[in-house]
């Protein structure tokens, strides 16, 4: 499943974080700028999308679900 694939990529970046359940990754400061940029690098490489800085908002990064939504949206554009 696509979500499993995404979770694997995320755990690869930082395996201390509970990506599966956490919904406040940005709001609670769980992801720092390193993690965010690494996630972007990993996602853009894996899904062949380009993620502009404008997408770095809590709505997109607060949870794995939100990330998936963003990825799907960017893939279709």
């Amino acid at each position: 499943m696509i979500m499993d694939e995404l979770l694997e990529i995320l755990q690869d970046v930082n395996d201390d974080v509970d990506f599966e359940n956490c919904e406040t990754l940005i709001d609670d400061g769980i992801l720092d700028s390193f993690a965010i940029l690494q996630i972007i690098a990993a996602l853009s490489e894996n899904y062949d999308i380009s993620i502009p800085a404008a997408e770095i908002i809590p709505e997109n990064f607060n949870s794995a679900k939100a990330l998936l939504k963003m990825v799907e949206r960017l893939q279709n554009e």
Binding site: S33, L37, A41, E45, S50, I51, P52, I56, I57, E77
Partner: protein, 533 residues
């Protein structure tokens, strides 16, 4: 109008009164008129620059919004995927050019006014004589702040996060709002604008809390900052004559004075906003309790950091070239090692940080020393991140408990050390004198009686002033400690106790400020530190 002048207090009282008396629908116009009046009182000529920024922000904002709308419409109509992509690219390019034109105009004005003489001066010093005359340029009040705030708005529109405000007067309020214009905080449009336009009701508790915050700001500025700034200035005037200990004294004074002065201005601004009913962003969060330099910059001038992060750091860090650096390192042989992996992860980010700090540096002023400031902070961050695994190994080998209070204290002192060296760049006249001062601080220390007698002789403040200042600093420290430990606002904590505590604290604050504050024509009160940025 200075925040510490009688006329400002009159102006403020009048504006607040009018705000709550006006019909709700038009309350925001009171804020607009107050802001324009405030600005014109400072400078009429400078206001012309504000108008240029305002009108361009308004015009380009609408242009970009409409352009995006039309672009969406147009692309919807195209069914063929590859054609859509091609068209999208063309339209994106055009949209980008529109944004660029806007940014060029506004940052161009800022750069021209702030940095022309810097470049001309550099040319002159390279030529060895005054080859080109310096220009007599007026720097409009708060230009660095309102330019950043306005461009943030337009960039947000470009990114599709906002729609343009079609009411020019309302946008004018966002650009010129008087509690922010002197020295920030820099706000994002989605956080501030609606608060400005929505009418707020009079609320006694909010008025009281806002006034208390203002009192705290006045205390810090008048009782502490303005009291000790004289000593700083007198040492700086002839710094070459004094030894490293005296220079260090000046640095320590500056450390206190800068924080007290800057945070005081911000507190007064936020207090004013609280009275009106606006929640203004925090700009300081006990910066001197920071454990790392990164942490420090998340606690100092927070809104500038947030602006830089959103509009410079991330956009730079996600560009293909920068991301490719990380990829290249990861894919190299070195990148296969543990340390290599770490470097691949960290290097592009710290490079972006370095860029941000260079920008922050020159934002402060047109002088090579600010380049030094940027390099100092940026390089320290870069190397601290790159060498992190080494530090972790060291602390493990030395069996240091990184959770302990002792280690935390060590981290705080270490950070302060870095910050204070950074401050040399602030107070020195130029790069040369900055480096000279650093050399003196490291190599010309002398805790002798002669040093102290020199200090006493040149100091414009006497023992009584020093005592008062220390008492003030102690109070500031205790308040910061409470804030850091509890995460709550001290005035809320006081409010929870019996009313006599609040009464007594307010009484003491008023008496201390009026009887022991440094105000009036008898004092050379240093203008708020960041006013000409």
């Amino acid at each position: 109008m200075s925040y510490t002048s009688f006329s400002f207090l009159l102006f403020l009282a009048g504006s607040i009164f009018l705000y709550f008396v006006f019909p709700k629908k038009y309350r925001w116009t009171v804020l607009l008129c107050a802001s324009v009046f405030f600005y014109l009182r400072a400078t009429v000529k400078g206001f012309l620059y504000v108008l240029v920024t305002l009108l361009s922000t308004y015009g380009f904002g609408i242009w970009l919004t409409d352009f995006s709308k039309n672009m969406k419409q147009e692309l919807k109509q195209i069914s063929d995927r590859s054609e859509k992509k091609k068209r999208k690219e063309i339209l994106q390019k055009k949209k980008r050019r529109i944004l660029l034109a806007y940014l060029l105009l506004n940052f161009g004005i800022l750069a021209f006014l702030k940095y022309t003489n810097f470049f001309l001066g550099t040319i002159n010093s390279l030529a060895g004589h005054e080859a080109v005359p310096l220009l007599d340029l007026l720097i409009p009040l708060g230009i660095s702040f309102y330019t950043f705030q306005a461009t943030g708005y337009v960039i947000d529109i470009y990114n599709g996060q906002l729609e343009a405000e079609r009411n020019l007067a309302k946008l004018g309020l966002f650009v010129t709002f008087f509690p922010q214009i002197i020295q920030g905080p820099i706000s994002f449009y989605d956080q501030l604008a609606h608060q400005l336009y929505e009418p707020h009701d009079y609320d006694f508790v909010r008025l009281k809390k806002g006034a208390e915050l203002m009192l705290w700001g006045y205390f810090k500025k008048l009782v502490i900052a303005d009291r000790i700034v004289g000593l700083l200035n007198v040492i700086l005037e002839k710094y070459a004559e004094y030894n490293g200990t005296i220079i260090l004294t000046a640095l320590l004074v500056y450390t206190v004075q800068l924080y007290a002065d800057f945070s005081a201005g911000i507190d007064i601004s936020r207090g004013i906003c609280e009275i009106i009913g606006i929640d203004m962003a925090e700009n300081f969060r006990r910066p001197y309790f920071a454990t790392t330099i990164n942490d420090f910059w998340r606690r100092w001038h927070i809104t500038l950091g947030a602006w830089m992060k959103k509009y410079i750091f991330y956009p730079f860090a996600v560009t293909k070239p920068v991301m490719n650096i990380g990829k290249k390192i990861k894919n190299s042989r070195f990148g296969q090692t543990d340390y290599g992996k770490h470097v691949a992860k960290v290097f592009p980010v710290s490079l972006s940080s370095l860029v941000v700090f260079m920008v922050v540096g020159i934002w402060h002023g047109a002088n090579w020393k600010y380049v030094g400031f940027g390099l100092w902070n940026g390089l320290i961050i870069m190397f601290s991140e790159l060498l992190k695994p080494l530090f972790e190994k060291m602390t493990a080998a030395l069996h240091i408990r990184t959770e302990s209070a002792g280690f935390r204290l060590f981290q705080i002192i270490r950070t302060m050390f870095i910050v204070i060296i950074g401050y040399v760049f602030d107070i020195a006249f130029g790069m040369h004198s900055a480096l000279d001062m650093i050399r003196k601080v490291f190599f010309e220390q002398s805790l002798s009686a002669e040093t102290w007698s020199t200090l006493a002789a040149i100091s414009p403040i006497d023992r009584w002033d020093v005592l008062l200042a220390c008492a003030g600093i102690l109070i500031m420290f205790i308040v910061s400690l409470i804030q850091e430990r509890t995460g709550k606002r001290v005035r809320d904590l006081i409010d929870d106790k019996h009313w006599t505590l609040e009464w007594a604290v307010t009484f003491a604050a008023v008496i201390l400020i009026i009887c022991f504050g440094c105000y009036g024509p008898g004092f050379d009160a240093s203008a708020f530190v960041y006013m000409q940025f």
